[in-house]
């Protein structure tokens, strides 16, 4: 345990702690999964799609379902640290705040990625999906899109824990900012599924979005963590 306290080391330790807690309680992943399942079922009542039609709308449905489920997980990210003043202890420690932010973001990324892995088969079954475009592109879009949702989401969850009615606050500030990312992930997915258009512009836009907001979050996390 005598590793030097570098950014990466602290990030890893903090991430390992979060994953261990989640492994034991399974709070986030269970509620996310059940929530996403409900959304998929309810959507299918609303749209009743044929295979041809479902290719065109599945991208939108999938990402809206993931977005809602992500909010469920994100709301639990920081509340755990409020109990027993863990967050205050972290503030007093010399550990870099960016390490805390990175570990939370990577943790949420893993949760949402697991959710997607479990949800995609559901979509394929319920909506009779078959992709016209190459599947590896869908994988790249999923990775970029998940990071886009999670990096801003983790940051805004840290903002909203200091507010009244914090559960409702998070989507109110997360959704407007995420509109370009949502547009990009939905259109990229639809382009690949239908094979009508090239998804490359949207993939590039997602990459730009990821880089820009990761940088801004890392820059601004310290003042937000220490705000008071």
């Amino acid at each position: 345990m005598s590793a030097t306290p570098t950014l990466w080391n602290i990030t890893r330790r903090s991430l390992a702690k979060d994953l261990r807690l989640e492994w034991r309680s399974k709070d986030a992943i269970n509620s996310m999964l059940f929530f996403a399942l409900l959304v998929v079922v309810i959507f299918s009542f609303g749209f009743d799609p044929t295979a041809e039609e479902s290719r065109r709308i599945a991208g939108g449905l999938l990402w809206v379902a993931v977005l809602f489920a992500t909010v469920v997980a994100l709301n639990q990210t920081w509340t755990r640290e409020l109990r027993n003043q863990v967050l205050d202890a972290y503030r007093l420690s010399p550990a870099p705040p960016q390490a805390l932010f990175l570990s939370k973001t990577i943790g949420n990324f893993l949760f949402v990625a697991i959710l997607e892995v479990l949800m995609v088969p559901l979509f394929v079954v319920f909506y009779n999906l078959r992709s016209v475009g190459p599947v590896w592109q869908l994988l790249v879009v999923a990775l970029l899109a998940t990071w886009a949702l999670v990096v801003n989401g983790t940051f805004f969850a840290a903002l909203s824990i200091r507010t009244r009615s914090r559960e409702i606050m998070l989507p109110l500030i997360l959704f407007p900012i995420s509109i370009p990312a949502l547009l990009a992930m939905v259109d990229a997915t639809t382009s690949i599924l239908t094979g009508d258009n090239s998804p490359y512009f949207w993939m590039r836009l997602l990459a730009v979005y990821d880089v820009v907001f990761t940088a801004v979050s890392l820059l601004l996390f310290e003042p937000v963590l220490n705000a008071e």
Binding site: N152, F155, F156, L159, S160, R162, T163, R164, S165, M169, L172, I173, F175, P176, I177, I179, P180, L183, A184, D187, N197, F201, W202, L205, V208, Y209, V212, F213, V216, L220, P223, V224, A227, E228
Partner: protein
Amino acid sequence: MTKLYKALTAITALLLVYGFYQAWYVAPMEATMGNVQRIFYYHLPSAWVAFLLFFVNFLASVWYLIRRTDGADALALASAEVGVSFCTIVLLTGPIWARPIWGIWWTWDARLTSTLVLWLIYVSYLVLRHYATGGQVPVLAAALGIFGFVDVPIVYMAIRWFRTQHPQPVIGGGQGSGLDPAMWVAVLWNLAAFAMLAVLFVWARYRQALAERALEEAYIQAEGEAR
């Protein structure tokens, strides 16, 4: 209120009246749209003023995080509130014009959509300010203000691509391209009037925000002394 404020109020009132005169009596009648086009003299200045105020909000947010002055935070709050008001005027006057000219209230055209998204972003900023409690509000708001402004170019790119890829539902973009010189005069007068009006509102709101803060601090101090 200071003498300067009163003087500026008088000038703004004169500018608004003169801008109205220019827009309704001097600017020529648009050939195909008729009088409906004259709403443009309010629509465009409001849009420019709103965008400018969102930029001011960004600068004030950055300044607050660097220097932590109450003034920077008050300016960020004032510019966001007044900016959202002007942006609301843009979003209201647009459909009023679009209905008789395009035959529809709204279309998901690039410019309309990006203005709507911009409005949503800054409304969420005001919502955060409203719901956040205690002394950390300025920091949280400043962070969100910076996020919002950084998002603007990405929103613009995404929506432009989104719209160029799909067919345009309505013909009739590019109205600013062929503007008559006489119409430009009316636009500029109204722009001056609206910019002055925005300065007045922001100034008043800024002073009010600072006064609120001073009052809160006085209360806290009085409570401390009472104990």
